[in-house]
Symmetry: D4
Subunit: 219 residues, 8 copies
């Protein structure tokens, strides 16, 4: 049960490599998978890895870098920065920063430029208005919010770019776990807002990368 | 089982009379209850009454008026207009109009002035901005929204008046039944937003009346 | 309460006009809103309108066309076909056709070309494999499925294009209402799949239009 | 990602300042935000802050006071006591005291007087009856209850003041998390009861402050 | 599949006969089952039978009596009135009457005396107080309520008799279907309240009959 | 959108043909699909088809037979009876008969012998005991129950055969829709009970056919 | 907030005293409440108290006894054993023992005799059959079960005594938290089964005491 | 309460012995139960036992072996390998390995041969295709998956063997706890897929053993 069937063909097929979901794997399992990447000379990124596992692995290998803010562990190098395609990440509050950080780390790994706008929640909507000009300069918008998750609805009504909503598990009571924010984004009266799973900054980043895929952009 | 124990002391105790919830009562039950009101010379209002029951009753009695838009049946006269206290009712969309109408009918019955602002949903937030000056003139704000229910969150961040959120059952998929809107309002990052049950325009009206209670205002 | 505050600025701001959600509006409300469109010389599309309302309106006006399959009512003309940008719509089963039809109607209204692939559910995955070459030719993929909603997960692992999952309410038992399919798509192990509300073919179409926005494509 | 966009205009706009939600922020984030308050000479209140974070911050700064009972951290001084406006806080049981304490701390910070009545649950309703005269002397009533959440329903039928229900997460089995109490308050047959999120003593306090806003009371 | 395996031994074993659940059976199935009762000379009671089925059957047989209020169909005679054991049925509102009626019909069938108290909801708790003396005279109390379901909690704190709570599906929004009332009763802070399924007046009646079982009372 | 991609290879691949799910397809769609079967000379079975659609189709074609009890429509002939492999279908109550009938119709179509035992619910467990000897003679047991769904748990503890639980949507209150029965079967303390979707008599039949697949049995 | 309003009249009113719910109270709060009991010379029982709190209190006072198995803390003496009234407690498995123990501790405190039957789950129903004769000797039956919660349904069909079902939170997956068992008991096809909250052994004991109330039994 | 009523007749009745569910039992309870097995000379297997309990018991007895990967504790010897009947266990990802290990441990204990295929998730469906030939050689297929749980649906469409789906609690957001995977498997459009509880590798193993029961295979 210790052999892994890693999808090394993914990069050729989809334009991005297999990432390693760290949350429910043991340190040993992650180490073995990274060993397989290393053996092929591939870079790799582990997401949702807790600090103890990451430090144990990074402490024993020079080619691993742990970023606690984004809960990622990087093997090797990020891809070179692409010369086009910018992604704005707009977040409702400081509490959403871990999801923002994961999202930014994945985009950086794929060579995409990001612009961050945090603390733009709808309780003081003038803050969002002040950031709009900059957000409109980006190619894709990722909008991160917990609690009532209203920010992506307001933002989608103000910008013509594709907007990807990321609900977060920030909140308590009916907001606990993030379902309230998720449902608000799915039910949005703002047109064309698309959504990923709760706290899934990773998925939003990959979706942005699909939209900005150089192969498609060339067509 | 046909005797009713109506709370005729409610007006003296709370400042508003007992209302009749029409939805799950038979035409005969509603008729008997209204008869008890009539026998005491009291006005009364039936809420959530469907058209068939209301027409059957109104067709047989001169002192009953049916308002299909608000699904109410009025016995006797509304109370005289109070000389102070205005309630703004702000709604996200045309589909919320039945709840707005119920709310306004109850406020009118109690003698309170209302101002209506419909179609102010966050998908085009400039519409709300255009109504703000008028909304700020009111004493209490009732904010009605279905789908993702974001409007009360945005509005609560813009006005200092008490804001009462009314989620509606307008929407489909995860919005069906109104739970998404309800949870969004309860989880709101906007401070001090209070909420009533889904589609409960009646309850919001009574809450506004409690806030604008002349006895308390005099203190 | 009968005045409507229609967002006629939306087209300039977002690249697509306001659509009319027909499900929870009365025939009179829809008629009044379409009158406002007509008065400005704008085309318009009503979605989720039932046959009775649509026939009543279409029977009384020459510039309205009812399409029962997609539950839409068109005022005026669709926009001219754009010269680039193709959207593949892939559906798991025949029962998903109403959602496919709504999605295609909205895309056609916006001038986008569509390619349809129905009956590609995972119970016989060879059928999907046979369509892959054609799907890969498109610029955006919309994938529609009810029941267990597995198709978008499989498809996202096979094509590098942006994939938008649309869960449908087709199914019974735990699949009733579409939540099982929605959750499967949100929880997908396939990377970068984005999702819209249950049965929301409309939203998927707008999301595709945002991705294929000529203004952005020109940059 | 470490800059914060604090809504310092909130006090002028809404009559109360931005509060800091401590639960999902790191000690460093809270410290940085309080530093921004301090730099402007503003008082501030952090809510839902756990003891470890609060002690770490309070131990390093003279102008911070930690109140473990209410899980708040105060920067600077509470506002001077207003000369009118009293809020009764009525709670069902001793287990609800943390929510009561948060609510009272926020009201005190805003200069409002509070009267507390704890252990008035409906299992011995005579206890509530004994407190009624005092409760009726207040201007707004906040009613806190977990388990079946029946107290606000009974109380709303007995007092004419605005009543704000606060469900708590006290209980187990079907009461776990507080949804049973929340639903009971939203579904209440008592008229005009308004509700905030589970355990949201903070929100109830702000709602009371909105009702007792001196600007409105002067009108 | 048309043979039925009726539990005719139940009366000897448990002290009450098998009842026929009419809701999900066809008219033919119910007719066949009643025929088996008739063939053995047994009385029987069908519960939750809709009017069309009941009238079809009662119209064709002299020994069947349909009671629309309780949705029951009686074959033969009720059992003779027992000389001891009284059951109080206390209901919150007029809308709960169908459940009260079912409960009373089953108790009457079993020969038990009932006392009804309707419209005693907690929004005007003085009405309950006025009925307390009579309720305390009974041996078992069945308490029926929809919406927030608070009445059994208050009542259980006031009477020492066994109290059986029956939540009803009366209400809307979060109360729709009766889950809010059910959870309130299960979570009650009042000690020793027991509960049956939503709208299950039948089950409450049988539970009362078990408590008042003459065989046990004799011991 | 009117072409169908029917999986005619399924019989060779899996040992049973594609069945037609009738519930969410239009009469025209079903007719077209059956036409494709007919054109290839294949028999076919439509499940969950309502009476109106089935009668419309059967009335227009000699090779179609409608069985209302099982809600199936048969094209052509059932497969010849296999000479081994018996399936017992045990049901808790008369209300479960439609699901039993669907299950039996599918098994018959596949040539498998069935034995039916209805009305064996646990409220009178002696009835089950009386059928045990016959049930133990079968090769696979399908156990159908609604309400609390306890029957498969009891039965699985008494027979060594594979037991497939089928929860039904029979019941009300917490049992409405069948989730209570489904969860009871999944959570069963009886070992090795497997479960299919609510009301999915069809799926249980196919599972039994997989277990009794002649190809595997020969091995 | 440290004064407690203890319901010392409860014993006279209801036949049993107020119990102290220990779970969500601090050690100091529990100590203060017990002090009030002690000051009046009353015995008392704390339920759901964790070991750390209980040991801290019991270590500092001679009149307190901690029983870890039932998570209770006893102040003073249990009431003298009544000379009639026996309660059988029947449990499905060893894992249910903590709830059984709580139930038995409360019954003992009230002077009632108990008979315990553990490990009688339906996966081996012969074990229940072997205990039936003894169970039938009792006056009230309390039946405790987790997982699928089928035992009370089977047992209610076999004994004519009042049966009180207690679902437990024992189980995982769909059984986690006890909702599956709760719903199974509420939905039971066995007649007259009444239910208390998940893990509420305390409530079941009080319900039994109400049934066996000497005042009522004398009537 | 310390006597246990172990079902030692189960092996004769059902073909497999009683297993010990370790999760919610204390070390002392498990030790006592194993003592009863030992006294009869029976082998036994404890499942879902955490490391601390298992090590405490295994450290004190020579006949106990703890396998941390499968969370099992074995008393005595596994049964001899049967000469026919192979079970394939196919898992979507490395994170599912604990459930795979439990399943394999139970099958081994019963003498059945297993073949493992891990990391076959649908995000790279070619990996599954590569394993198909080997999977088709087995007699029963157990398919384990978390997140969106799509693998059993795809696999059931490709193999004619009985397929038992085991949803796992691997995932986050809407996948947390495993309900999304469970519902996907129950709702599968693939025919005849049967399902067990979330993380119930044990139950799937027993179901496979029932299918491969030598007594039935001989018939």
């Amino acid at each position: 049960m210790n052999d892994h069937d890693i999808d090394f063909e993914r990069d050729g097929r989809l334009g991005f490599p297999e990432f390693v979901f760290g949350e429910s794997k043991s340190t040993e399992q992650i180490g073995a998978i990274l060993g397989a990447f290393r053996a092929r000379g591939e870079s790799g990124l582990v997401t949702r890895i807790d600090a103890a596992k990451a430090e144990a692995l990074a402490g024993a290998a020079d080619d691993l870098r742990h970023d606690p803010a984004s809960r990622t562990l990087l093997l090797g190098e990020e891809r070179p920065r692409r010369d086009h395609g910018t992604v704005a990440i707009v977040a409702a509050g400081t509490s959403d920063v871990p999801v923002v950080a994961e999202c930014a780390a994945v985009l950086r790994f794929l060579g995409l430029e990001t612009r961050l706008h945090v603390d733009k929640g709808v309780a003081g909507v003038h803050r969002l208005m002040g950031s709009l000009a900059d957000i409109r300069e980006s190619d894709v918008v990722i909008c991160v919010a917990g609690f009532e998750g209203a920010l992506p609805s307001v933002l989608s009504g103000l910008v013509r770019r594709p907007v990807i909503g990321v609900p977060t598990s920030v909140g308590y009571g009916v907001a606990e776990g993030g379902t309230a924010a998720l449902h608000a984004m799915l039910a949005s009266c703002a047109n064309g807002l698309v959504v990923v799973n709760i706290d899934n900054g990773f998925g939003a980043a990959i979706a942005a990368a699909r939209i900005l895929d150089p192969e498609r952009m060339r067509r």
